[in-house]
Symmetry: C2
Subunit: 284 residues, 2 copies
Amino acid sequence: MEEINNIEVVPCTDSEYLKPLTVHYNQNGTKKSWDYMRTHDSVSVLIFNTTSHCFVLVKQFRPAVYMCEWERAKSQPAKAAAAAEKKEEGAAEVSEAQAGASSAGEGSSEWPPACAGVTYELCAGLVDKPDLTLEEIARQEILEECGFDVPTSKLKRITSYRSGVGVTGAKQTMFYAEVSDDNRVSAGGGEPKEGELIEVVKIPLHEAMTFAYNERIPKTMGVIFSFMWFHNNMAPRTLLPHRRKVPGYVPTQPSNAEVRFPGTLKYSFYLLYVVCRHFCFIFF
Amino acid sequence: MEEINNIEVVPCTDSEYLKPLTVHYNQNGTKKSWDYMRTHDSVSVLIFNTTSHCFVLVKQFRPAVYMCEWERAKSQPAKAAAAAEKKEEGAAEVSEAQAGASSAGEGSSEWPPACAGVTYELCAGLVDKPDLTLEEIARQEILEECGFDVPTSKLKRITSYRSGVGVTGAKQTMFYAEVSDDNRVSAGGGEPKEGELIEVVKIPLHEAMTFAYNERIPKTMGVIFSFMWFHNNMAPRTLLPHRRKVPGYVPTQPSNAEVRFPGTLKYSFYLLYVVCRHFCFIFF
């Protein structure tokens, strides 16, 4: 339900956040230079709610993504308009709120609709508090952005990797957090005083992979990767005893399987799958 | 085998590559500002060599990653020294070349070893040629960086997502390319005139997931994600008929399974795994 208008772009001469630097160096005797930016490392958290059997993501308007779409619209007007329309359709399938996204103000034919800048992401935050461990920062972000109070001991480290190797080179560490409705202490939504306008969204487990690979829904790679990681590593424990329906959720495609197939046989397949996967990981 | 020295960092006032901008806008009636950078979209390619049953990655010195490690070393001297040592060990496990990485020049106690800035990545490139399709750009990158000539018709689109939602907001599209030694036309290594110093590395399929989750080997999320994607989606077709050994490769951990377990039974497990996974994806 974003309304974006009065957009104005100006050169950024002295930013508090973006500080471009140039490093001159010799690599194997060859003199080289590289422009880069100093930035903070970050943490991201895949949150799974065991009460509703949903992943908990955050959805927010990202000015950088929006401006990127605007650039695209400028360079390929016809192509981009079609893409923005497509995107709107895709988003509408997933969340009613998104369907309400309205287009920008001045010269609206030129500016893409606001939803072009709205992305689905894992709960995440910068590592900018030297006194806190990565787990403590992750815990704070889960609380602020999604409203769940999870002890750090319940955070499982998935892995770490480099993000933006060309420009920032920062390290991101990904965690997995299992929550239940009992851990819920607030509605989340970020820190209003930091200007965060974050919407917390639930993605039911059985829709997760369809959601992940739907390119019409703008999202980060972290979402796709972590959903797949969950399916490969955590699903056995959390999926059983049974899948639950989430009230008010309109699935992106009808799941007929449940109607057609008796439950016990389904889970037998699942158990067989898990056992075989385990052996395959050992063998190959 | 990188040697980095004569490092000098200066403020970057007018970069050809980094152009910070500020966008002022109204979001739901609230006046906001955001600093961001204009950048190009990109493509990345997971390359699998069906002759040697290896993934083909690129390995290169990334100044931004190196400087990030340097910042870390400055803020936590003791911690970072240990981490750099660890990283060196990890890298040595994977490639002999990496073990030869030597440390930086002036004030070498202050600068981390060169290998701290070397990352493993998918073959990738910027979408900066408006006349070419994403597939054509991907094809060029495979040729330039890895030396394989693959027709665009053989590129399979995996998915697309947003990278760097905070700063750049660009879109990256990931492809899968199957190559064989017959497609090899050069050694790869990038365009020397563009200053690229890229090493092409092979990761055997049966070591891929161990490699992916080894946090001591610096890599991008694209590597981890695409390896997992391959295991979930492509392995059935390419893994069978049988796994092959790659000459000269020292595995990161001994694979005893092959010795202990007869081949046919292994592949029966694999087939059962694939069948069950298929049904599970339908049911859940």
